[in-house]
């Protein structure tokens, strides 16, 4: 009897898996948005930044940027920020909290296949990142006449490479965080330092040691790839920053290797 039902389960697998992914994505999304403080903090941060920038000095045209508005210059960077915040910070914290509270272990012991969980988390992270990118584009357009990217395809590819790679980095970092109390501070500090090194907050002098070092890190390259897809600065150059995307992707591969080696379903504390 039991072997019969087992074969039946295999026969209905294909359609069942899609249904299961949709089911899990729905609850991943609920888990994110029902945590209102977390959701507002994650999604709202870049939007609030954009609005503040626009209200202060953003609408000036800047000569050294080829005469484009400051807001226009910053939108790709904020889009990059949104993708990295969703993939890196939010995902890392989520995984640590779930691991340390036993939620991951419980999921592991349920019939939900691990790969369905992984795919669902990735889709859910992508939705969060895309919502941010769209919000930034729409607010930029309506509020500050920021033009949409010349090629949606280039933007989309850059965003997807970013989501995959920074999600992998988020999972890798989660394996290095020992407990849920330090998950927020550790990932935020790492993220902000990476942003600093990439010249996100203040420009870093080209040719300096810091700039050279930053060249080996993924954040600056991701911002440059997003810039390129908007053809910024100065409206020249290729929409496709293959070199930058390759660096980001390589970081994603490295992070995946770390994640595969170190990932644990059980709480770390013993």
């Amino acid at each position: 009897m039991s072997s019969g039902t087992r074969q039946g389960a295999v026969a209905t697998r294909g359609r069942g898996d899609l249904r299961l992914i949709a089911h899990q994505v729905k609850y991943e999304q609920l888990a994110f948005w029902l945590n209102r403080v977390g959701a507002v903090f994650t999604v709202g941060f870049s939007v609030v930044f954009l609005v503040m920038l626009g209200l202060s000095a953003g609408n000036q045209r800047v000569a050294i940027l080829g005469g484009i508005r400051l807001v226009q210059f910053y939108v790709p960077g904020f889009c990059a920020y949104g993708v990295m915040a969703a993939g890196f910070t939010t995902l890392a914290i989520t995984i640590v909290v779930r691991r340390e509270t036993g939620l991951l272990k419980r999921l592991r012991l349920s019939p939900l296949p691990s790969w369905v969980l992984l795919v669902s988390i990735f889709i859910s992270t992508s939705i969060i990142a895309l919502v941010q990118v769209l919000l930034l584009l729409v607010i930029g357009r309506l509020g500050y006449h920021v033009s949409f990217p010349p090629s949606w395809a280039a933007l989309f590819v850059a965003v997807i490479v970013g989501i995959v790679s920074f999600s992998a980095m988020g999972v890798a970092v989660s394996t290095l965080v020992p407990n849920q109390e330090t998950a927020g501070p550790v990932t935020s500090i790492v993220f902000f330092v990476l942003l600093f090194l990439a010249g996100f907050w203040f420009p870093i002098a080209p040719g300096s040691g810091l700039a050279k070092f930053s060249n080996y890190l993924p954040v600056r390259h991701f911002i440059l790839a997003m810039d390129a897809s908007f053809r910024i600065p100065a409206g020249t150059g290729s929409l496709w920053a293959w070199h930058d995307l390759l660096v980001v992707a390589l970081w994603g591969v490295g992070a995946t290797l770390i994640a595969l080696r170190r990932f644990s379903w059980s709480p770390r504390r013993a």
Partner: protein
């Protein structure tokens, strides 16, 4: 009777520590079987091997007819077992109903969500956020998640650790009810009263090995053997004048150990009635599960005392 699971010569080490060292037992369908032992005795490791969460180093294990360490059978097995972990693993921002509906979607033949909410006594809490529940309510929701898939076999790892006495009682009631419905339960606990109240059979684990195993009411022969009668010697009576011979006298406190407490009590109380004297603090006890347990796990305590000293 059909077996829900069998364990033969199970071995599992972490580095040089033998967490489970040659353990064998089996559990019949419909039975509540308890693993009793101090922290670090190997209870959770045993359970995690049976759940298929950990790989064993040696021995044979069969759960509902399949090997939980076998990748191909793991998914099938997980649709038929339920698991309640030591941690209160429930999402804080979901409502009770949302958590149960989410997990119900993982199983081919789940129990109806409303039925589970009713069964675990959260009927008026279906729309409440998990983080607003008390510890006892969260634990009952946790057990609800363990049974949402309609399991044939339920693993309960220390189901009431950290709960207040009232919450423990309601959790016991729930486990009794599940057992009466025919669910097989493998539980672990370090509470004697819990094991005594719930389990049909018990294995006492000590340092990764089974120190004793048997039906809970008669573990270690405690239903037979000597009973201890205790009372205070009435004033003006010399212990040597008593109708039964004391095993020990401490001040006026007397202990009498005897295999035949009925006859001994008859003589003692008859004597007391004749003389019109009281027997203050009269009690009859047999070795409790606690006495057996403490004797069996003495080594563990010596070790941990030595470590903390």
């Amino acid at each position: 009777m059909a077996l829900a699971l069998t364990v033969s010569n199970l071995k599992k080490s972490y580095g040089t520590l033998k967490a489970v060292d040659d353990v064998s037992f089996d559990v019949e369908r419909g039975e509540v079987f308890a693993l009793l032992g101090p922290n670090g005795a190997g209870k959770t490791t045993c359970i995690e091997v049976l759940e298929g969460f950990l790989h064993r180093d040696g021995g044979a294990v069969e759960v509902l007819g399949v090997d939980p360490g076998h990748r191909r059978d793991a998914h099938w097995l997980r649709t038929r077992i339920g698991v309640v972990l030591q941690e209160l693993a429930v999402e804080p921002f979901f409502t009770v109903r949302q958590v149960l509906e989410r997990n119900a979607g993982f199983y081919p033949h789940p129990r109806p969500v409303d039925e589970v909410i009713e069964l675990v006594g959260l009927a008026d809490k279906g729309g409440a956020k998990v983080k607003k529940l008390s510890g006892g309510q969260q634990r009952r929701l946790d057990i609800g998640l363990g049974i949402i898939g309609n399991p044939e076999l339920l693993f309960l790892d220390e189901p009431t650790t950290g709960l207040d006495p009232a919450a423990r009682r309601t959790t016991w009631e729930l486990i009794r009810q599940l057992s009466s419905e025919g669910t097989t339960v493998l539980m672990s606990s370090h509470y004697m009263d819990e094991v005594e109240a719930l389990s049909h059979r018990v294995a006492v684990l000590s340092r990764g090995q089974i120190a004793a195993m048997g039906p809970t009411p008669s573990l270690g022969g405690r239903d037979k053997g000597e009973a201890t009668i205790r009372f205070a010697v009435p004033e003006g009576v010399h212990p040597g004048d008593l109708p039964i011979t004391p095993s020990s006298v401490d001040g006026n406190a007397v202990e009498v150990r005897t295999p035949d407490e009925v006859t001994a009590l008859h003589e003692l109380t008859g004597w007391a009635l004749e003389r019109h004297v009281a027997l203050a603090g009269l009690s009859v006890t047999r070795e409790s599960l606690e006495d057996i347990y403490l004797a069996l796990t003495r080594h563990d305590r010596d070790e941990s005392d030595a470590r903390s000293a």
